[in-house]
Symmetry: C2
Subunit: 197 residues, 2 copies
DNA sequence: TAGGTATTCTATAGAGCTATTGATAGCTAG
DNA sequence: CTAGCTATCAATAGCTCTATAGAATACCTA
């Protein structure tokens, strides 16, 4: 994977992409493998050259999605921005990936629970990491006196992630609100909501 | 329906309840009619005495869920409370129904899109009504000068409903946060986020 | 208590879907 | 040119599930 991507590697990624697209549109259970294969211009059975099962494809999509999120958040935190800037950037990035990689985000949000618990280990790991990083951000900001003391960082994490992920379910509908504006106003509301003063 | 509920009526409601429970747990596509029948202590085929199809059961659950929400919101608005009180009550009620009628809420949230568009009319109607009522609340509060002018009421509606519905996906996990506290802090954050000054 | 209605049961057709298997065409390196 | 490897195909076993139909039982009312 590190060196030159083989034809297999490229095709595998295309397969994950196709799975993401179909799962995002119809939901994991509602989707069928024929549709995925069609996107790749191969027959249904040929999919099993790349995946051991439909579920394995779901796992790959979810893991990819959350991994992107975590590494991006990590990168953002490494910049050590003040809370307000960090939140603004985070929202901007998330709303951006809603156009870029919406499929992965949607599948991760809506269908990860379709993976049986015993297979969800690596995904949970990333999820926990994501929440942990965010919680740390709030805790530190609170220690610095930027965030109101009475607010529980764990709840702020839930509120922020909830705010973000809820957008996944309606952004694609015909609506006149543009991402730029939503992102900006969500940011205003959330920051005014938790910053001190 | 208005007079004495017949045995059929009671049994029908029980069937909707059972469907809600099973759909909430496994998702519409992941659920099967055998599980629903088991909850009612009848055989799978007997379900079709009450529903023409599995999809019709989903429709009934979703419609019931959103209808409850709308009529409750309407009742709340009739009290003409100031915005802050209204939001607090709304959150309290929603988080309450998360323990009372979680199944209906979850199914409405996660699976209503599994109903084909042409059958979704009455549900959409209620959804639109719900959003409309909330939007009006914000618009009026803004006119009175309670809400910051730069905020778009439509976005506030999305933010608030997003905040609420996102809770549906994690409240049942083992976690130390109690509903009371979450409701209260969400309220604080959201209000501080949108109220003027 | 008989007759009729309401509710549930048994059995199953038939559709849709995943995953497997063995064959096959194309590509690559010697 | 050929042997071996890669990627795809065709065909299908076998499972799961919804929905239907006709029989059976419970329930109620006169």
């Amino acid at each position: 994977m590190a060196g030159k991507p083989s034809k297999y590697d490229k095709r595998y990624l295309a397969a994950v992409d196709a799975a993401a697209a179909v799962f995002a549109e119809k939901g994991y259970h509602g989707a069928n493998t024929v549709d995925i294969a069609n996107l790749l211009d191969i027959k249904q059975g040929s999919l099993y050259y790349y995946f051991r099962s439909k579920e394995e494809a779901l796992e790959a999509v979810c893991l990819q999605g959350i991994t992107w999120q975590v590494s991006n958040l990590q990168e953002l935190l490494d910049q050590q921005l003040p809370l307000a800037r960090a939140i603004a950037e985070l929202l901007r990035y998330n709303f951006q990936s809603l156009t870029d990689r919406a499929d992965y985000m949607i599948v991760f949000n809506d269908d990860r629970q379709a993976i049986p618990l015993e297979r969800r280990g690596r995904i949970r790991e990333q999820s926990v990491a994501y929440h942990g990083l965010l919680e740390q951000l709030f805790t530190e900001a609170q220690a610095k006196g930027d965030v109101r003391e009475e607010l529980d960082p764990r709840i702020l994490v839930r509120a922020l992630t909830g705010l973000i992920s809820s957008v996944f379910s309606w952004y694609h509908q015909k609506n006149e609100l543009d991402m730029e504006k939503i992102s900006e106003q969500y940011c205003q509301v959330f920051l005014a909501g938790c910053l001190k003063s």
